[in-house]
């Protein structure tokens, strides 16, 4: 580890810290304000869009209506992206003349982009037309991110709304939230962001691929396309689905150290800001900062571990008497160890999944960090919206486990946490072990699963666990080393992504629906404080314990065993 490496990490965090309050306030105005920003310019657009869809913006929805709207919209999205892929050979904007995508892969990709996962079992530049990329994938990058924010805002409303005497049953209107999130937040920022990326050398054209002869005299095809526009939302919406197969390691996606920093920053920007928005909604910004602090502690723990692990020389390479400045395998020389370790941590803290280095080539412990980050539920800032609602479920658990110790039945923000919320939270918590461990266990013993592995032994197990963790966690990054484009993997991962998105969103919205009508008691000296350092510490422990206790046995057979075997000179 070097001082310069740490300075990069600290600079990145300082930027995130700086944007949290202003962007958080902006989001608060967008979703909760009486009037939205830029009423003259964007207001009419919003009204026309809602009118076209026949939505009355004043009509709020109950949690069931809200959930059904979201599910209906998602089903429509899956079908749209599926059909675009299946029919791309007859649709325009296909200069390379790519054929239709096969049914399993098209299903996998449609699910992947609808669930904000962006798991890519395909190579973008070698199989998708520009239309599919833009109208299918980039479109989903926007709306799946906005849908995540909708769920977070709805849950926040559930906790923070104070019901009147007749009780409160509604959580807002999904369609209104979806339009506002896209129109006021994602689109304007991405417009500026994409222009910045173009200025740094990111591609933005609809041209056919170019044939070039390199200095060495070899013929090379350079892929082209509308990259910058997709790249911006890929990061800001924590989507992570690269235009190119190499993702942010590709120089046309992420050409300079500056774009690398901005890409990292844009992953955390909205998730961090949402904590402030939440505090604002709770009428106590310290509530939001407590969540921010818990996320920050976990972020620094992860990045320190990953950076330290990657700074170690690979014992196998060291044995070959090669001088190394740490583990550079699978990393871009222009980013180096610090920025690669940081990128791997950030992209898995959030459910982004973009990569600028190959996680498969990390040391055993270095690769453990992204895996654990995902398995903790991607609550370390997390996906846009998904991070906040995931963390709030952890808050419910923390409040319940420790809250009794103050001699009152558990309450959060003055609302009681009762059997119903506990049931829903446990359903949420169960999805991860059920899907990741369940499918992982199946894949580890059946030939359809094991045959896709490039590596044997514990490293192969890490690849399996990573794939299902990434799918269920809606992360989308790959450990690589696993040929996921087989019917078994496409379908099982598709199911994992669906479960990880919707089976978790439904209980979250149900919690929101159950909480929103509860009476609020003003906090006093006798109530459990959830806005201080003590609570932050408790929350961190609960996140770690719930995650670690669940996955520790499986991890000990994967990265942990690999680490100790590696120390003893055994490689896979």
């Amino acid at each position: 580890m070097t001082l310069l490496g740490w300075l990069q990490i600290l600079l990145f965090f300082a930027l995130v810290l700086a944007v949290t309050k202003p962007l958080g306030l902006y989001l608060f105005h967008v979703f909760e304000g009486p009037t939205q920003p830029l009423p003259k310019v964007l207001g009419p657009v919003e009204r026309v869009l809602l009118k076209l869809c026949g939505v009355d913006p004043k009509r709020e929805q109950t949690w069931v209506q809200y959930t059904l709207s979201l599910l209906a919209f998602s089903l429509f999205s899956v079908l749209l992206v599926y059909l675009l892929q299946r029919l791309q050979h007859v649709l325009p904007l296909n200069p390379q003349g790519f054929a239709a995508v096969g049914p399993e892969l098209a299903f996998n990709t449609a699910v992947s982009f609808t669930t904000n996962t962006n798991w890519q079992a395909y190579g973008g530049e070698s199989s998708l037309s520009y239309l599919t990329q833009m109208a299918g994938l980039a479109w989903q990058n926007f709306v799946s991110a906005a849908a995540g924010v909708c769920v977070a805002v709805a849950l926040a409303r559930g906790f923070t709304r104070r019901p009147g005497p007749e009780g409160q049953k509604t959580l807002g209107n999904f369609w209104v939230d979806l339009v506002r999130g896209t129109l006021y937040v994602l689109l304007p920022i991405c417009t500026v962001y994409a222009l910045f990326l173009v200025s740094q050398g990111v591609l933005q054209n609809l041209a056919p691929y170019r044939e070039l002869t390199t200095l060495e005299g070899v013929k090379q095809t350079l892929a082209m396309g509308p990259v910058a526009s997709q790249e911006a939302i890929k990061m800001l919406g924590t989507n992570g689905g690269g235009f190119f197969n190499a993702n942010s390691a590709h120089p046309f996606e992420n050409p300079t150290p500056l774009t690398n920093l901005v890409q990292l920053f844009s992953i955390f920007a909205i998730p961090a800001a949402l904590t402030y928005t939440y505090g604002k909604m709770a009428r106590d910004t310290k509530q939001g900062w407590a969540l921010f602090a818990a996320m920050s502690v976990l972020f620094f723990a992860g990045v320190a571990a990953a950076y330290a692990a990657e700074s170690q020389a690979n014992p196998a390479v060291a044995a070959a008497q090669v001088a190394q400045a740490g583990n550079m395998e699978g990393k871009e020389a222009r980013f180096g160890i610090s920025a690669s370790a940081l990128f791997a941590t950030v992209t898995t803290d959030a459910s982004c999944g973009a990569v600028n280095s190959m996680h498969d080539s990390f040391t055993a412990l270095g690769g453990l960090v992204p895996l654990v980050n995902i398995q903790l539920g991607e609550v370390i800032f997390g996906g846009v919206g998904a991070g906040l609602y995931g963390m709030l479920v952890m808050v419910v658990l923390a409040v319940f486990i420790a809250g009794l110790m103050v001699g009152r039945t558990p309450e959060y923000l003055g609302k009681k946490i009762e059997a119903k919320e506990m049931k829903l939270s446990m359903l949420y918590v169960l999805i991860f072990p059920l899907v990741i461990l369940g499918l992982g266990a199946v894949a580890a013993v059946i030939p359809q699963g094991v045959s896709s592995l490039n590596n044997a032994g514990p490293h192969g197990l890490s690849e399996i666990l990573y794939a299902y963790s990434s799918g269920t966690g809606n992360n989308g990054s790959a450990f690589a080393g696993l040929n996921a484009n087989t019917p078994f993997w496409n379908i099982s991962l598709g199911l994992a992504m669906l479960a990880g998105r919707f089976l978790m969103i439904i209980p979250v919205l149900a919690i929101a629906g159950s909480m929103v009508g509860k009476k609020t008691v003003a906090p006093g000296p006798g109530t459990f404080p959830t806005n201080g350092a003590l609570f932050t510490g408790l929350l961190v422990s609960v996140v770690v314990i719930v995650g670690a206790l669940t996955f520790f046995p499986a991890l000990s057979l994967g990265p942990l065993v690999e680490h100790f075997l590696g120390q003893a000179g055994k490689v896979f």
Binding site: A402, M405, G407, V445, F528, P553, A554
Partner: protein, 685 residues
Amino acid sequence: MTASSKPASLFEPALLKQATLDSLRKLHPRDVARNPVMFVVWAGSLLTTVLVVRDLITPGPAATPVWFTVAVTLWLWFTVLFANFAEAVAEGRGKAQASSLRKMRKDTLARRLVDGREERVPAPNLRKDDLVVCEAGDLIPGDGEVVEGIASVDESAITGESAPVIRESGGDRSSVTGGTKVLSDRIVVRITADPGESFLDRMIGLVEGAARQKTPNELALHILLVGLTVVFLLACVTLVPLALYSGVKLSGTAVVALLVCLIPTTIGGLLSAIGIAGMDRLLRKNVLAMSGRAVEAAGDVDTLLLDKTGTITLGNRMATELLPLPGVRMEDLAEASQLASLADETPEGRSIVVLVKDTYKMRPRELQAHQATFVPFTAQTRMSGCDLVDPHPRGIRKGAVDAVIKHVEAQGGAVPPALRETAARIGDAGGTPLAVADGARVLGIIHLKDVVKGGIKERFERFRAMGIRTVMITGDNPRTAAAIAREAGVDDFLAEATPEAKMELIRTEQAKGKLVAMTGDGTNDAPALAQADVGVAMNTGTQAAKEAGNMVDLDSNPTKLLEVVEVGKQLLMTRGTLTTFSIANDVAKYFAILPALFMGVFPEIAPLNLMGLTSPYSAILSAVIFNALIIIALIPLALRGVRYRPLGAAALLRRSLLLYGVGGVLVPFIGIKAIDVLLTAAGLA
């Protein structure tokens, strides 16, 4: 109360014997199935037992040595037994407490009135609305209401108070409790509860594990525990194929051991004992609760409505000062006050005599020596005093200031303005002025004051620290009320309280989302008792009040409300601490068992064996033994409840997290290592 064996030892031998038998009886699947966490342990034990049998029948090169499987199996069964034992001990203690109350109402023969004729029936056969006759010497056969007659009743069996009380039809003193004894006269009692539905019967139900319904918070906690159990079940079951991939063949025994150690058996095994013990603690304070829900609600109470009289003040006003008018000698006022009060048996009267004697060193004199006649207080005169003949005829009076003024003016006396001024000053300070007159001459004023109970202020401070607001309810005027409220340190007061005003106050508080607790005894308290979240009715109160509330205090002591709140808080805190402890324990258990499982195939992971346990077998066995023993070790804590501390929530949480969270991580590291050392020393490694 007869059962005032209050600080009974936690483990009486007879109780333990019964509990041991009960814990075996509770191995029945029907009983175990009530607790899903322990059911998993039970099923796991059964599975390893089958494995033991298999290994014994087909002895071959078993993957694991038979002694190991046998040892793990035994300790798994012990785990179930220990949890059963905890519940049985709690139940036993509760039942012992309740049965001493119940015993009284058996063997009684009731005299039931049917169409005007009496017939003898055993008390348990009485139904609601039966009429029974009780005469001097009879035990009252069941809870009921006096519908005819008046009698003195000895309630010492219930309250421990030896002085008999009057029970009469109509009014606020009509309620009688089964098991109390009529000392004089004859009453007809209407039975108000069917057998099995009286307060006592319900309370007994609350301390019996089998019949007990889970309280709302207990249910929520249960869901958490079941959820965690399913998570660990998934983690352990999937570990088998994952290990198989890695070339590790896990034995059934080892997987069951890992599962049992990980699922929250500590809190799962003690949860029902904690609940029963909470009810039992309440019972020991002579409070009967209608439901466990009410006890939990007591822990949540935000606002306490406390009647001034009897709870905050001693109940009677006491003379604290004599204030002579200008030109009157103190001795004259003191003498007149004493004479006017000597025959006055009211507490106020007695307090005047005591004040004069103690402060003004004037010994009481014999009234007869002065040929005095006592003039008692009446509602018309609102004065009392005495008329003397010797040495010269005098009429001495004390009483309400306006009454005395009228009395003096009627005899042609003048009233100096200083009298009214002094009276107003006392009134402002929350006291009651009593004017004293000798014939047509006003001498001065006796200052009567409500005396706040000792220690009550400190007690309210404790509640304030916990965020509980205290509101004093009194019929006094606002000035008086404010002064007493200030002195007692309550947060707020409701003066000139009517039942309607009280009800309104409860509603307003509840509308703000607060939980309200109160005590009451009269029929006019009933609506408020029903509206309050915790309503403690006095046993001496009316049947209506008792039915409206959700608890009954057998001692009829309004201060008990404070203790009820503490019991509720203690119950919740005990659950919280043991849950935290139980979950924190898992960290160490992982480090004991996981290296042991994989060390055979991957000896390189030895560094994960943080505790340096001797062998894989001793490691797993030590974790299982620790897991079982910790249940036994925590039974006393579960039964007594964690000590309740009047700290703010933040301080309390910091303390508990340190003790039970951090402690919960560390203790098993030490415990498991110690057991491993012992096992190694015993050659079992």
